[in-house]
């Protein structure tokens, strides 16, 4: 079996052994591109911490040297020929994405808050006022019922609105430093912002500076920056393997 790591913009054969995992990595070069692979067993595709770290070590090596389209973790095919066929059959799509992403890296930013802390700073009347729900208050049974329902939902609605405000205030300056940006608000109740930012490699330092500036200005929240990563969030490519032989 062959484990697939990624497609790179380098069409010469090379190989190396990963220190620690002992994986023997080599580049299957076809027509100016390469599919980086290693001989593997079924165990290598399991979601275990040592496999995840071994996979990432290879990705870091590749990213430092080439433009790389990472293959989803744990992808195993039967042999070298299948990997070569993929490279041949999808060459134009791979080449287009590699050209678009040449010299670019992805940075990740996550911002978390403590929802209880956010809510504790506000009285219910203020929350209802801000959500413009106070006007619903009246003596009719229907209004009373509706008002009770809104009161139950008010904290959640307030948090959602607040999260969008804060996430945008953090995301927009980071997006201005980036070529492309993706944001996900409240992916979980605590995760206000989960952002991905595509940058020219030489702009990582400026991006870090903006991140630190925002982190200081939003000191009530927890910030995490990660990267540089290969551009995981900035391309979308699904390949069907098993076509005609090359």
């Amino acid at each position: 079996m062959i484990y697939l790591y990624g497609v790179i913009d380098y069409g010469e054969a090379f190989s190396f052994t990963v220190h620690g995992s002992g994986r023997k990595i080599f580049n299957l070069a076809v027509n100016g591109l390469g599919m980086v692979v290693s001989p593997a067993g079924a165990e290598d595709g399991k979601v275990l911490s040592q496999n995840i770290l071994a996979h990432n070590t290879v990705m870091e090596y590749l990213m430092d040297r080439f433009t790389v389209l990472p293959v989803r973790f744990g992808t195993l095919v039967s042999g070298e020929n299948e990997a070569r066929k993929l490279l041949v059959n999808y060459r134009s799509q791979f080449a287009r994405q590699l050209k678009r992403l040449h010299g670019k890296v992805e940075m990740g930013v996550k911002v978390l808050w403590n929802t209880e802390q956010v809510l504790s700073g506000f009285r219910e009347s203020e929350i209802l006022g801000e959500l413009k729900l106070k006007n619903l208050e009246s003596d009719t049974p229907g209004h009373k019922f509706l008002f009770r329902k809104y009161r139950e939902k008010a904290p959640e609605m307030y948090l959602e609105r607040k999260a969008v405000q804060i996430a945008d205030q953090i995301h927009e300056p980071l997006a201005r430093q980036s070529l492309e940006a993706r944001r996900h608000i409240l992916r979980t109740p605590a995760l206000i912002l989960s952002g991905a930012y595509l940058l020219d490699r030489e702009n990582v330092s400026g991006f870090r500076g903006e991140f630190l500036h925002l982190k200081r200005n939003f000191s009530d929240y927890n910030f995490l920056m990660s990267g540089p990563w290969p551009p995981y969030n900035f391309f979308n490519l699904t390949c069907i393997a098993g076509g005609e032989s090359i």
């Binding site: 293959v71 992808t75 095919v77 403590n114 927890n222 699904t238 393997a241």
Partner: protein
């Protein structure tokens, strides 16, 4: 020691968040395995939901 463990956990979590459901997806009968990635990814969402509770110190000191 705990901070080392926490740092490793954050690193692993961030790697998982990138490698599990993103990148070139290859489908077809020649695929031997793409792991039980979808199931694990659902689990990852749960871990992310609680990461602020287990890792606040490290996150504050990051960068």
């Amino acid at each position: 020691m705990s901070s080392v463990v926490e740092e490793k956990n954050v690193t692993l979590l961030e790697i998982l968040d990138h490698v599990l459901d993103k990148g070139v997806v290859i489908k077809g009968e020649v695929i031997i395995s793409i792991a039980d990635v979808d199931l694990i990814y659902l689990g990852l969402q749960l871990v992310l939901a609680s990461v602020d509770k287990v890792l606040p110190v490290y996150w504050d000191d990051d960068v």
